[in-house]
Amino acid sequence: MIDLYLLALLLIPLFGGGMLAVFGSRPWAAELNSVMSFCTFAASVMLTLQVVASGPQVVFGEQFFIDQFNVFLVALTAFVAFTTSLFSRPYMRIEQHHGKLSTAMLHLYYSMYQLFTFTMLLGLTSNNLGIIWVAMEAATLTTVLLVSLYRTPASLEAAWKYFILCGVGIALALFGTILMYFAAERVLGEGGTALLWTHLNAVKGELEPTVLKLAFIFLLVGYGTKIGLVPLHSWLPDAHAEGPTPVSAVLSGLLLNVALNAVMRSKVLVDGSLGTHFAGDLMMGFGLLSLLVAALSLYRQKDIKRMFAYSSIEHMGLITFAFGMGGPVATFAGMLHMTVHSLTKSAIFFAVGHAVQKVGTQQMEHIRGLLQVSPTVGWGLALGTFAILGMPPFGVFASEFLIVTTAMHEYPWTTPILLISLGIAFAAIFGKVQPMVFGESTAKPLPHPPALIPVFLHLLLVLVLGLYMPPYLADWYRQAAALMG
């Protein structure tokens, strides 16, 4: 059964991409996009139920590998991709109504949206380190034309930067993969199996430590560019701010996670080979630096999407730090934080998207009094901001609390950096969002009703995760954390 579900999971978005490449300019393309994303989500749910019940599995001549860790990302990716497709239906229509997008651009958007989902799911489920690399590069290629969709000078510049910097980053990751293969070949022999993660994992103790050390540095720097780790992050705020908002939501909420999954897979191998905390230390360092630099940059932001893009860097830094600490509790907290961050950040981008459409600018000083004109968009943004800032009772509070307490226990010297960064981020974002939500308004009504169900659905899930974690979920995450060490 499991191979059937996996096949469906990968083929539906691929087929959807093909269908939308043909029918993308029809009036019902948005609905078709949502239906395809829903089918992908349904397949991911079935796959998840199977894997959580029966444990890690290899499928299709060992080319695919699914365990509790990556299936959690598969489910999250498929879910957010589905809700984003719901959001993008009215959003893109309003953009078209405003004359910012033509039918041809929408055509490109819909077909690339499905292909992008496909590349992310391929990158998550593949057992082959080489194919993971190919999927990561393909994910850049499918989104780069979406970032420049508006064809403005700023969006072209952002897309070019995204293309070149991520291209260079990912090239370094390829060198890391080659080095990994070089080490593996000496143990596993030549041929197809030496790049399969499950085979590497079985012999990780015998892999040459000096080679793996160098390989991990290249892999971390390479995939770290995609995660948006400082100092390799400079493409991220531009790409997230200049692209259409649904693209910002999936880039921020999903693509960063997929890159982090690739780093985690490499970390397991390097830890096994070195027997030291080398990989974890590197990740902790990059994580702390990203957290601090992103928090300090938040103050200077004037563009609302840029600000939330920096907030994504901050949270990815925190997650990388948590995974770097390692151990069951920190890894569990990291996974929980990945979940709530993806849900909250995409909800915020949905609300921000509609707010920007109402006001007609992304400059925060011109966005005022959202509650007055549109209470739902205003509350969506306000609650989303509360959630992302780690206010109880939202789930982000629970995961941040777990990360900080574990850090206090294991690495006490990091506590001040963590707390100061989180405090600065809180003050910066809260101070900027508050006047946008309250106060006198300048906003105009929209030509189509906005999509607010995804916003509140995501926030409700984050709230539930903060108040009560179902035992099924807790059990699943604990098993996954144990697998990742």
């Binding site: 190919v134 590069e137 000078p153 390829l174 060198f175 080659i178 070089f182 080679v211 004037k302």
Partner: protein, 220 residues
């Protein structure tokens, strides 16, 4: 001993590859840079074929063929065509400080050899020393991307980077599994088409292919 001949030949090709990267680093004319890129692809094809012959790895013949088609014929042809369409065939790029760039390049080569030294010790036979050259090629291509101010030359530098990585894969590990190599080739091909689309979009928006027009996005 045929093995030692082939080893020497691969080493010679590796040295030539490094030389080509240096030539690209200092080449002012865009057209010549594209031709150098084609030469690099040709050297790569030769070295892959020789490694395939000497180690009896049949799948390497396929990747040699793939390199020949993609990097010696298709991509240079595509770039030439684009140059004609964009009417920038005879454009010259002002490079600042070629001697300094060369010196930095030499420092990078030394750094690469040092970094690769512990790994080269592990490699046997044909591969010893080649990882250092491949890594040097990667770093030099990165330097090339930094020093270039035109969209087209940045892309050629990017493709040269990919070539060096490919050389690392064939020389150090006798090639990645074929499915991975096909995937990488597909990515490069798609990337080149997107680059092409970008050239036109950039040209349409900024009236030139100079990327110094594209440094406006800042945090303020």
């Amino acid at each position: 001993m045929p093995i030692s001949y082939t080893l020497q030949f691969v080493n010679l090709l590796a040295a030539l590859l490094l030389l080509v990267v240096f030539a690209m680093l200092t080449q002012r004319r865009i057209l010549s840079m594209i031709n150098l890129f084609a030469w690099q692809g040709f050297l790569l094809t030769l070295s892959t074929a020789i490694v395939a012959y000497s180690t009896n790895q049949h799948h390497l013949y396929y990747s040699a063929g793939l390199t020949l088609v993609l990097k010696v014929l298709l991509l240079p042809w595509l770039l030439h065509r684009l140059m004609r369409k964009l009417n920038v065939r005879w454009d010259v790029e002002t490079l600042i400080n070629i001697p300094t760039t060369m010196l930095v390049g030499i420092a990078l080569v030394i750094f690469a050899f040092n970094l690769a030294a512990p790994i080269s010790q592990l490699a046997e036979g044909i591969t010893r020393g080649l990882i250092g050259i491949a890594l040097a090629g990667v770093l030099l291509s990165l330097l090339m991307m930094l020093t270039r101010r035109k969209a087209v030359t940045q892309v050629v530098a990017f493709l040269a980077l990919e070539n060096s990585l490919f050389f690392a894969a064939t020389s150090a590990t006798h090639g990645m599994p074929l499915v991975v190599e096909f995937g990488i080739a597909l990515d490069v091909l798609v990337a080149s088409f997107i680059f092409g689309i970008f050239f036109f979009q950039i040209r349409e928006t900024f009236d030139s292919l100079d990327i110094s027009n594209m440094e406006r996005l800042k945090d303020d």
